[in-house]
Subunit: 644 residues, 2 copies
């Protein structure tokens, strides 16, 4: 597939991601289209297209589905548009154009667009910003419009988006007679920046900045709104309060990542965009603070975020329970968004490290290998019986579900994977950044001309990465900035077989040359199996290790290791063998070592407690698979963290 962002055009031919991106294009997009049209037998209908048809006056009926149902269609359009960049598809393009026209016909004369309120009564619009998602739906519609325009050149949806943004701009802001509100679920902020960047229209950026700056200012908008509409805040009595929406205090006064995790990272992403474009130091400081709060104190090793089912939210520092976790797929996706924007702010490898961590683990685990079923919740430890019989763990599912009543994760996955090159590569002045190692043909349009190269690798299974320059119009030196992942403790790099002298700076190896066609850059990232430990303040991981190789977090599954995973131990110095198995889980490198298992000899009489006797550990072969591939072989226990 081919894509462009900033100035990098990429045609991905990657052994790892290629097939997944193809799955998105050939399976998920068509499947989701059927779902949006309520044509999946035995699945809860989406009502999505139907709501638009009713709103456009083409059908009679009531609004049905969640208040944010419109966003599903927008996310689908965005993902579908991305796929067109690499795989022109006349029929899909026509479908998209038809949908764009349908949406346009539902749009109100003043630009307003939200089928819930169009169908249920426009007099109620903007009266429940806190919970009713109309600004959220607007955000996704705008993202879809820009993607649709970029992919097809069509302005049908872009016009809708501009009229919608104009409508928002007329209704919100500090000016008199405008509402001083902001989204209850963030995303519009990012979308407005994107629309600004696509159209050059400053007002959209200004509106985004207004939303970011206004959020949580006194008097609290959501408190006033609740007083008017009489709708109590569901989170009022719990530990979250209005911080569930990141709206309890101004962003610049917020010290920790708090509240609903998806909302939070969407909020911080928008803030990073605004901070970058306004060069706003206090907002940058806020973004860095939130980044640190998440990645140093509130993030699972998988890149999952949101420790608690309650509010799908952050809890407190170092509270990272593996079994009652939420770690929504969309939250990991949102962390990828945030990382990308922090990279746009400043080039620090840690941003790309977390982006990679989330992508290869907590995001990818959200979908099955066949791309047809999905996790909302991505636990790091599962006992199927608990998911069934313990209310605290009932939100954790041991199997992926076909589709969801609240279907936010699958289309979000689709749009992320379909636009993956935008996260992997970036051109800035005379520099081409490689943040993630995806194989493919790349053309970077730099100010002085194009440089193109081919990146080949079998990442994350193999250590070798090769960049071959396939063309360079730029006469002056061009910098290729290759990320040296944080997990990588030693590497070798050569240019045309000669060792290089450059040392990495903030996680990137900057190689500045007058590149010639045929120049070959080789990078070998050592990928030993590593036993990872968590900071000792993390209670839930104490005495345990997680196994990683390269960017991949591994796990034990019952399918390989039998039941009772908690009885297994790694031992203090496990010797791993890493072997790529073509036939296993779509082709994965499996890690094996000799571990040990606590025997239950002596417990035959079924006592529950007894005085200590010498414990018997028996030698036991442990077999680890990549975390993202868990739950593809039936129901069973799974565990990322293993006792040492």
């Amino acid at each position: 597939m081919a894509q462009k962002d900033a100035a990098v055009h990429a045609a991905i031919h990657d052994p790892f991601w290629g097939s997944r991106i193809k799955t998105v294009r050939t399976q998920m997009i068509p499947y989701q289209w059927e779902a949006l049209n309520d044509r999946i037998p035995d699945a809860e209908p989406s009502h999505c297209i139907k709501n638009f048809r009713i709103a456009a006056g083409l059908e009679k009926g009531n609004f049905e589905g969640f208040v944010f149902q419109d966003s599903d269609l927008a996310k689908w359009m965005e993902a579908a548009s991305y796929t067109l960049l690499s795989h022109p598809d006349k029929q899909l393009e026509e479908t998209l154009e038809e949908v764009a026209a349908l949406i346009a016909s539902a749009q109100q004369p003043d630009g307003y667009l939200d089928t819930y309120y169009i169908i249920n009564g426009l007099d109620k619009r903007f009266t429940d910003l806190r919970d009713h998602h109309e600004l959220y739906c607007a955000g996704h519609m705008i993202e879809a419009a820009v993607a649709h325009h970029e992919a097809t050149g069509s302005k049908t949806l872009l016009r809708v988006a501009r009229r919608l943004a104009d409508c928002m701009e007329r209704n919100f802001g500090p000016e008199e007679n405008r509402l001083r509100g902001y989204p209850g679920h963030e995303v519009l902020e990012m979308a407005l920046v994107r629309l600004h960047e696509a159209t050059g229209e400053k007002r959209y950026l200004k509106l985004a900045a207004y939303f970011i700056n206004e959020r949580g200012q006194a008097p609290l908008y959501f408190a006033g709104e609740a007083e008017k509409n009489g709708k109590r805040c569901h989170w009022e009595d719990g530990p979250l309060g209005l911080q569930y929406y990141q709206a309890g205090k101004p962003l610049r006064k917020q010290e920790d990542a708090e509240g609903h995790a998806v909302r939070a990272v969407y909020c911080y992403s928008g803030a990073a965009d605004v901070a970058r474009l306004y060069n706003d130091e206090s907002l940058k400081a806020f973004c860095r603070r939130m980044w640190e709060s998440i990645t140093r104190r509130r993030m699972y090793i998988t890149g999952g975020i949101g420790s608690s089912d309650y509010g799908e939210a952050f809890t407190y520092d170092y509270d990272l329970p593996n079994d009652t976790v939420y770690a929504e797929t969309c939250a990991a996706i949102g962390l990828v968004f945030f990382a990308k924007r922090m990279l746009a702010l400043e080039k620090r490898g840690e941003y790309a490290d977390v982006m990679e961590r989330a992508l290869y683990n907590g995001v990818l685990s959200g979908m099955s290998l066949d791309g047809q079923s999905f996790f909302y919740v991505n636990p790091l430890e599962v006992v199927p019986e608990a998911c069934e019989k313990d209310q605290l763990r009932r939100h954790v599912k041991p199997t992926r579900q076909k589709w969801f009543g609240c279907a936010c994760c699958p289309p979000n996955l689709a749009r992320l994977l379909a636009s993956l090159p935008r996260y992997a590569y970036e051109a800035e002045k005379n520099c081409v950044f490689v943040h993630l190692y995806l194989g493919g043909q790349l053309q970077a349009n730099l100010p002085e001309g194009q440089i193109s190269f081919e990146l080949s690798c079998n990442y994350p299974w193999e250590e070798e990465i090769r960049l071959r320059v396939t063309g360079c119009e730029v006469k002056n030196p061009v910098t290729l900035a290759l990320r040296i992942p944080g997990w990588c403790r030693s590497y070798r790099a050569t240019v045309n077989s000669e060792a290089i002298n450059e040392k990495p700076k903030e996680g990137y190896l900057y190689l500045t040359r007058s590149w010639q066609t045929g120049d070959t850059l080789s990078l070998s990232l050592d990928m030993p199996v590593e036993c990872i430990q968590a900071n000792p303040v993390v209670r839930e991981d104490i005495g345990k290790r997680a196994v990683m190789r390269g960017p991949l977090v591994y796990c034990l599954e019952q399918a390989d290791n039998g039941p009772g995973l908690h009885r297994l131990r790694l031992g203090s110095d496990p010797q791993f063998t890493a072997r790529f198995e073509e036939e296993t889980l779509g082709g994965v490198t499996v890690l094996c070592c000799e571990g040990k298992k606590l025997s239950d000899a002596g417990w035959e009489d079924g006592e529950l407690y007894r005085p200590q006797e010498a414990e018997k550990y028996e030698s036991f072969p442990l077999r680890f698979i990549p975390y993202y591939a868990w739950a593809n072989r039936g129901v069973g226990e799974m565990s990322v963290w293993v006792r040492q």
Copy 2:
């Protein structure tokens, strides 16, 4: 205090329990009386006495408080009555008689008594047996009446109880024109058996048996009732369903202890009573099955039961989370009730072992050392920050509360402790059983006369127990049956300084002699400190140890060991010193050993995850206190299970 049950009269002079029983008498009973009269400043009013006055027509007003508010008064009366046995108190006796008269004046002409329905409309009575607790309140009133009668000879409340039981008997049963219902919260079953034993009236036993046998029979009464009153079952969609009430299937078809833990053990207690009096083998088998389910698969080491806050209920086998636990004080109390009744069925030391385990740990932890504040939930691991910020742990409180809106635990504690001798001693034919070691003067009225002795001990701190016969009217041999606790791996017993030959049978040492005044029986129960391990199938305790000495479970507290208890380890062979500290926590034996603590050296930069490096454990002195005494020195972490 002096008490009699079956045929044992005991005047307790016990260094451990004596002061606690005194606290009940001098602190809790007067405090609770004030609470029942809404005279505690800053506390939620109980409304209890007020409701009775309104029901009796002495005041105007609405019913207020929980639907089971009447039971608080009954529990208080029961506890207060027990204290009169050992400490005659004219004023308290008069108060009790006045309250009994008040209750009698609220009772309806047909014997019905429940202030909620008397005040709100009798037409609705018996329409919501599932949730409205009128049979529960009746049960507690009957228990109070029998205790009041035994202590004072007054028949005022006993008459109320008989009329109330008669009313129940006319309304419930398999006969035509009676309701085929049963209590939504069990306790009436036990109470009816007690009333039967106090009055000799067979009908009460028969009604208890009916409730036990009818429970969960098809068609399900609660399902039919819900259909009639349109009240959905709160537990319907969760894992509990009608088993929350132990009412989803007939008891004899139930395989595991399920549902609300307090209800469950109250139910099984009633079933054990009925099984004993009817000599019903299938019901005995049910009781043994539930006993095994609890004590071998679903009980905390503290005797706490109910793994989940959701429904305050059992979950599934070996699911014993230490931090999200419920382990309600009343559930541990109920387990003591159940154990006593299993002992009445058959003399097996394991029943008394569990009774002792619960009493000294999960029951006693429910009250502060000063007897003025109380836990509902008795966790085995606490991190105060989690109690505040994590919704899953918000039901766990790091400090005991003064009084409760739902005040079931404190009066339940009071009535249990005030009647403790009934659990410690039992006479059966020519045998006197000592189930628990409480010091005091005992008189057992055996068929052939009285035997009296003095039991002196400093249990559970010291190993020595001495029984001196102070009088014996029985000419034939009498058996003294002394429990050899399950935790005790070696002991020495002598009679008049001569070693004995008898070996324990099912946990009891049966010593049959023609006892003479002055005969002295010495028993020394070795009490080394033991590191206890849980069955390897218990995930939450894997790799951990609990420290016990005698019947006491110990714990680490932040007050002694600093924060970050999870970073501590016991080591594989800890050498403990046990020292009684008069000044600590009201006088406790403190256990100390050299353990180790995981250093956070090398983590100064605040990373969350990193490749394994050699962990540094530093030698660290561990100090353990008895679990029951935790949370008496301010807010802090606590943990029972410690990594090895």
